[in-house]
Point group: none
Chain length 146, copies 2
Protein backbone atom coordinates (compact mmCIF):
# COMPACT_ATOMS: atom_id res chain seq x y z
CA UNK A 1 0.00 0.00 0.00
CA UNK A 2 2.59 2.52 1.11
CA UNK A 3 4.81 0.94 -1.49
CA UNK A 4 2.21 1.79 -4.13
CA UNK A 5 2.08 5.46 -3.12
CA UNK A 6 5.89 5.72 -3.17
CA UNK A 7 6.14 4.11 -6.54
CA UNK A 8 3.44 6.39 -7.89
CA UNK A 9 5.27 9.49 -6.69
CA UNK A 10 8.52 8.28 -8.22
CA UNK A 11 6.74 7.75 -11.49
CA UNK A 12 5.28 11.26 -11.41
CA UNK A 13 8.69 12.78 -10.65
CA UNK A 14 10.32 10.72 -13.35
CA UNK A 15 7.88 12.24 -15.83
CA UNK A 16 8.49 15.79 -14.72
CA UNK A 17 5.39 16.30 -12.61
CA UNK A 18 5.58 18.02 -9.24
CA UNK A 19 4.56 16.36 -6.00
CA UNK A 20 2.02 18.54 -4.24
CA UNK A 21 0.04 17.85 -1.08
CA UNK A 22 -3.10 17.77 -3.20
CA UNK A 23 -1.68 15.12 -5.51
CA UNK A 24 -0.50 13.10 -2.53
CA UNK A 25 -4.01 13.25 -1.12
CA UNK A 26 -5.59 12.04 -4.35
CA UNK A 27 -3.09 9.22 -4.68
CA UNK A 28 -3.67 8.17 -1.07
CA UNK A 29 -7.42 8.17 -1.60
CA UNK A 30 -7.25 5.95 -4.66
CA UNK A 31 -4.51 3.70 -3.31
CA UNK A 32 -6.37 3.34 -0.04
CA UNK A 33 -9.40 1.85 -1.71
CA UNK A 34 -9.86 -1.50 -3.38
CA UNK A 35 -13.07 -0.33 -4.97
CA UNK A 36 -13.42 1.57 -8.18
CA UNK A 37 -13.96 5.20 -7.25
CA UNK A 38 -15.70 7.83 -9.32
CA UNK A 39 -14.15 11.29 -9.49
CA UNK A 40 -16.80 12.51 -7.05
CA UNK A 41 -16.03 9.68 -4.62
CA UNK A 42 -12.34 10.46 -4.80
CA UNK A 43 -13.12 14.11 -4.15
CA UNK A 44 -15.14 13.26 -1.06
CA UNK A 45 -12.43 11.05 0.37
CA UNK A 46 -9.77 13.63 -0.26
CA UNK A 47 -11.81 16.36 1.39
CA UNK A 48 -11.89 14.51 4.70
CA UNK A 49 -8.21 15.23 5.24
CA UNK A 50 -7.84 18.17 2.91
CA UNK A 51 -11.05 20.22 2.97
CA UNK A 52 -9.83 23.06 0.81
CA UNK A 53 -8.97 21.03 -2.27
CA UNK A 54 -10.83 21.87 -5.46
CA UNK A 55 -12.74 19.33 -7.48
CA UNK A 56 -10.85 20.62 -10.50
CA UNK A 57 -7.59 19.50 -8.99
CA UNK A 58 -8.97 16.04 -8.45
CA UNK A 59 -9.92 15.85 -12.10
CA UNK A 60 -6.55 17.10 -13.21
CA UNK A 61 -4.66 14.68 -11.00
CA UNK A 62 -6.77 11.80 -12.23
CA UNK A 63 -5.97 12.82 -15.78
CA UNK A 64 -2.23 12.78 -15.11
CA UNK A 65 -2.32 9.44 -13.30
CA UNK A 66 -4.43 7.82 -15.98
CA UNK A 67 -2.20 9.26 -18.67
CA UNK A 68 0.81 7.57 -17.09
CA UNK A 69 -1.12 4.33 -16.73
CA UNK A 70 -0.81 4.46 -12.95
CA UNK A 71 -4.52 4.16 -12.39
CA UNK A 72 -6.92 2.20 -14.44
CA UNK A 73 -10.03 3.71 -15.94
CA UNK A 74 -13.30 1.86 -16.38
CA UNK A 75 -15.07 2.88 -19.56
CA UNK A 76 -12.74 4.04 -22.25
CA UNK A 77 -13.02 7.75 -22.94
CA UNK A 78 -15.50 9.17 -25.38
CA UNK A 79 -19.23 9.30 -25.03
CA UNK A 80 -20.73 7.22 -22.37
CA UNK A 81 -23.76 5.38 -23.49
CA UNK A 82 -24.60 3.62 -26.69
CA UNK A 83 -27.39 1.37 -27.82
CA UNK A 84 -27.85 -1.56 -30.09
CA UNK A 85 -31.06 -3.34 -31.04
CA UNK A 86 -31.16 -6.56 -29.14
CA UNK A 87 -30.98 -9.27 -31.78
CA UNK A 88 -31.01 -13.03 -31.40
CA UNK A 89 -27.41 -13.64 -32.38
CA UNK A 90 -24.97 -11.57 -34.34
CA UNK A 91 -22.52 -9.36 -32.63
CA UNK A 92 -19.08 -8.19 -33.43
CA UNK A 93 -16.13 -6.35 -32.00
CA UNK A 94 -13.62 -3.76 -32.97
CA UNK A 95 -9.92 -3.61 -33.55
CA UNK A 96 -8.97 0.04 -33.46
CA UNK A 97 -5.84 1.75 -34.69
CA UNK A 98 -4.73 4.20 -32.02
CA UNK A 99 -2.98 6.36 -34.60
CA UNK A 100 -5.38 6.80 -37.51
CA UNK A 101 -8.57 5.63 -35.84
CA UNK A 102 -9.31 2.96 -38.42
CA UNK A 103 -11.76 0.36 -37.13
CA UNK A 104 -11.74 -3.27 -38.24
CA UNK A 105 -14.64 -5.46 -37.23
CA UNK A 106 -14.27 -9.04 -36.22
CA UNK A 107 -16.57 -11.78 -34.98
CA UNK A 108 -16.08 -15.07 -33.16
CA UNK A 109 -14.89 -13.57 -29.94
CA UNK A 110 -15.29 -16.96 -28.33
CA UNK A 111 -15.91 -15.73 -24.82
CA UNK A 112 -18.49 -18.32 -23.86
CA UNK A 113 -16.22 -20.25 -21.53
CA UNK A 114 -15.14 -17.09 -19.83
CA UNK A 115 -18.73 -15.93 -19.56
CA UNK A 116 -19.93 -19.13 -17.95
CA UNK A 117 -17.08 -18.98 -15.51
CA UNK A 118 -18.03 -15.43 -14.53
CA UNK A 119 -21.70 -16.28 -14.17
CA UNK A 120 -20.78 -19.14 -11.88
CA UNK A 121 -18.38 -17.10 -9.78
CA UNK A 122 -20.31 -13.84 -9.48
CA UNK A 123 -23.95 -14.85 -9.93
CA UNK A 124 -24.36 -11.96 -12.36
CA UNK A 125 -26.91 -12.20 -15.12
CA UNK A 126 -24.76 -11.27 -18.09
CA UNK A 127 -26.38 -9.35 -20.92
CA UNK A 128 -23.47 -8.60 -23.16
CA UNK A 129 -19.90 -7.56 -23.39
CA UNK A 130 -17.66 -4.99 -24.87
CA UNK A 131 -14.38 -6.13 -26.37
CA UNK A 132 -11.95 -3.89 -28.17
CA UNK A 133 -8.39 -4.47 -29.23
CA UNK A 134 -6.15 -1.46 -29.60
CA UNK A 135 -3.04 -1.20 -31.68
CA UNK A 136 -1.48 0.13 -34.83
CA UNK A 137 -2.63 -0.80 -38.28
CA UNK A 138 -0.09 -1.91 -40.88
CA UNK A 139 0.07 1.49 -42.60
CA UNK A 140 0.66 3.38 -39.37
CA UNK A 141 3.33 0.93 -38.21
CA UNK A 142 5.17 1.55 -41.48
CA UNK A 143 4.91 5.32 -41.21
CA UNK A 144 5.65 5.80 -37.58
CA UNK A 145 7.82 2.77 -37.07
CA UNK A 146 8.42 2.01 -33.39
Amino acid sequence: MIYTEKRTEQELRKNGFKITPQRRAVIDAIAGSHEHLTPAAIYNRVRREHPSIGLVTVYRTIEVLAGLGLICETHAGGSCRSYLMRRPSEHHHHLICSDCGKVVDFTNCDLDDLESRLVKETRFKINGHLLEFLGQCLECSKIKGR
Copy 2:
Protein backbone atom coordinates in the same frame (compact mmCIF):
# COMPACT_ATOMS: atom_id res chain seq x y z
CA MET B 1 -35.05 -6.41 -39.80
CA ILE B 2 -38.64 -5.45 -40.49
CA TYR B 3 -39.48 -8.31 -38.23
CA THR B 4 -37.47 -6.65 -35.47
CA GLU B 5 -39.36 -3.37 -35.83
CA LYS B 6 -42.74 -5.13 -35.80
CA ARG B 7 -41.85 -7.14 -32.75
CA THR B 8 -40.64 -4.02 -30.98
CA GLU B 9 -43.91 -2.20 -31.67
CA GLN B 10 -45.91 -5.14 -30.40
CA GLU B 11 -43.89 -5.17 -27.25
CA LEU B 12 -44.48 -1.45 -26.73
CA ARG B 13 -48.23 -1.84 -27.24
CA LYS B 14 -48.33 -4.83 -24.95
CA ASN B 15 -46.86 -2.65 -22.22
CA GLY B 16 -49.32 0.16 -22.73
CA PHE B 17 -47.14 2.55 -24.71
CA LYS B 18 -48.45 4.38 -27.72
CA ILE B 19 -46.96 4.03 -31.18
CA THR B 20 -46.08 7.46 -32.49
CA PRO B 21 -44.27 8.39 -35.70
CA GLN B 22 -41.39 9.64 -33.57
CA ARG B 23 -41.04 6.34 -31.76
CA ARG B 24 -41.21 4.48 -35.05
CA ALA B 25 -38.42 6.65 -36.37
CA VAL B 26 -36.19 5.99 -33.36
CA ILE B 27 -36.82 2.26 -33.55
CA ASP B 28 -36.06 2.26 -37.27
CA ALA B 29 -32.83 4.13 -36.70
CA ILE B 30 -31.58 1.70 -34.08
CA ALA B 31 -32.83 -1.38 -35.85
CA GLY B 32 -31.28 -0.19 -39.09
CA SER B 33 -27.80 -0.10 -37.67
CA HIS B 34 -25.51 -2.90 -36.65
CA GLU B 35 -23.32 -0.52 -34.72
CA HIS B 36 -23.82 0.75 -31.24
CA LEU B 37 -25.30 4.22 -31.55
CA THR B 38 -25.04 7.02 -29.04
CA PRO B 39 -28.16 9.07 -28.31
CA ALA B 40 -26.75 11.85 -30.47
CA ALA B 41 -26.10 9.46 -33.35
CA ILE B 42 -29.63 8.14 -33.10
CA TYR B 43 -30.92 11.69 -33.10
CA ASN B 44 -28.99 12.52 -36.26
CA ARG B 45 -30.24 9.46 -38.09
CA VAL B 46 -33.81 10.13 -37.08
CA ARG B 47 -33.64 13.72 -38.23
CA ARG B 48 -32.81 12.70 -41.78
CA GLU B 49 -36.36 11.44 -42.23
CA HIS B 50 -38.03 13.38 -39.48
CA PRO B 51 -36.38 16.79 -39.13
CA SER B 52 -38.73 18.21 -36.55
CA ILE B 53 -38.17 15.59 -33.88
CA GLY B 54 -36.80 16.80 -30.56
CA LEU B 55 -33.70 15.36 -28.96
CA VAL B 56 -35.72 15.00 -25.79
CA THR B 57 -38.05 12.58 -27.50
CA VAL B 58 -35.11 10.48 -28.61
CA TYR B 59 -33.91 10.26 -25.03
CA ARG B 60 -37.35 9.39 -23.78
CA THR B 61 -37.87 6.69 -26.38
CA ILE B 62 -34.47 5.20 -25.64
CA GLU B 63 -35.40 5.11 -21.98
CA VAL B 64 -38.60 3.23 -22.70
CA LEU B 65 -36.93 0.75 -25.05
CA ALA B 66 -34.07 0.08 -22.68
CA GLY B 67 -36.49 -0.28 -19.79
CA LEU B 68 -38.31 -3.02 -21.69
CA GLY B 69 -35.00 -4.68 -22.57
CA LEU B 70 -35.65 -4.17 -26.27
CA ILE B 71 -32.36 -2.43 -26.83
CA CYS B 72 -29.11 -3.15 -25.11
CA GLU B 73 -27.19 -0.47 -23.36
CA THR B 74 -23.41 -0.41 -23.26
CA HIS B 75 -21.94 1.26 -20.20
CA ALA B 76 -23.90 1.25 -17.03
CA GLY B 77 -26.09 4.24 -16.32
CA GLY B 78 -25.08 6.88 -13.83
CA SER B 79 -21.68 8.41 -13.71
CA CYS B 80 -19.40 7.27 -16.38
CA ARG B 81 -15.88 6.88 -15.24
CA SER B 82 -14.28 5.27 -12.25
CA TYR B 83 -10.72 4.60 -11.25
CA LEU B 84 -8.69 2.00 -9.44
CA MET B 85 -5.01 2.05 -8.54
CA ARG B 86 -3.13 -0.15 -10.92
CA ARG B 87 -1.31 -2.65 -8.76
CA PRO B 88 1.61 -4.92 -9.64
CA SER B 89 -0.62 -7.90 -10.41
CA GLU B 90 -1.98 -5.67 -13.18
CA HIS B 91 -4.07 -6.76 -16.10
CA HIS B 92 -7.68 -7.27 -15.23
CA HIS B 93 -11.14 -6.63 -16.61
CA HIS B 94 -14.52 -5.55 -15.42
CA LEU B 95 -17.93 -7.00 -14.98
CA ILE B 96 -20.36 -4.13 -14.56
CA CYS B 97 -23.90 -4.11 -13.25
CA SER B 98 -25.98 -1.95 -15.57
CA ASP B 99 -28.44 -1.17 -12.79
CA CYS B 100 -26.42 -0.21 -9.73
CA GLY B 101 -23.03 0.32 -11.35
CA LYS B 102 -21.21 -2.19 -9.19
CA VAL B 103 -17.91 -3.29 -10.73
CA VAL B 104 -16.37 -6.72 -10.19
CA ASP B 105 -12.85 -7.29 -11.38
CA PHE B 106 -11.65 -10.48 -12.98
CA THR B 107 -8.41 -11.70 -14.49
CA ASN B 108 -7.45 -14.52 -16.85
CA CYS B 109 -9.19 -13.16 -19.86
CA ASP B 110 -7.41 -15.73 -21.99
CA LEU B 111 -7.53 -13.81 -25.23
CA ASP B 112 -4.12 -14.85 -26.54
CA ASP B 113 -5.46 -17.18 -29.22
CA LEU B 114 -7.87 -14.56 -30.43
CA GLU B 115 -5.13 -11.95 -30.43
CA SER B 116 -2.76 -14.05 -32.52
CA ARG B 117 -5.55 -14.77 -34.96
CA LEU B 118 -6.26 -11.05 -35.35
CA VAL B 119 -2.59 -10.19 -35.76
CA LYS B 120 -2.32 -12.79 -38.50
CA GLU B 121 -5.48 -11.66 -40.30
CA THR B 122 -5.14 -7.91 -40.03
CA ARG B 123 -1.40 -7.34 -39.66
CA PHE B 124 -2.16 -4.95 -36.82
CA LYS B 125 0.40 -4.51 -34.08
CA ILE B 126 -1.78 -5.03 -31.01
CA ASN B 127 -0.98 -3.07 -27.88
CA GLY B 128 -3.80 -3.97 -25.58
CA HIS B 129 -7.46 -4.60 -25.22
CA LEU B 130 -10.54 -3.52 -23.37
CA LEU B 131 -12.97 -6.16 -22.19
CA GLU B 132 -16.08 -5.48 -20.17
CA PHE B 133 -19.01 -7.71 -19.43
CA LEU B 134 -22.34 -6.04 -18.73
CA GLY B 135 -25.23 -7.46 -16.81
CA GLN B 136 -27.14 -7.41 -13.57
CA CYS B 137 -25.64 -8.32 -10.24
CA LEU B 138 -27.42 -10.75 -7.97
CA GLU B 139 -28.98 -8.04 -5.80
CA CYS B 140 -30.37 -6.09 -8.74
CA SER B 141 -31.76 -9.22 -10.38
CA LYS B 142 -33.63 -9.92 -7.17
CA ILE B 143 -35.05 -6.43 -6.91
CA LYS B 144 -36.02 -5.87 -10.48
CA GLY B 145 -36.67 -9.45 -11.46
CA ARG B 146 -36.91 -10.02 -15.20
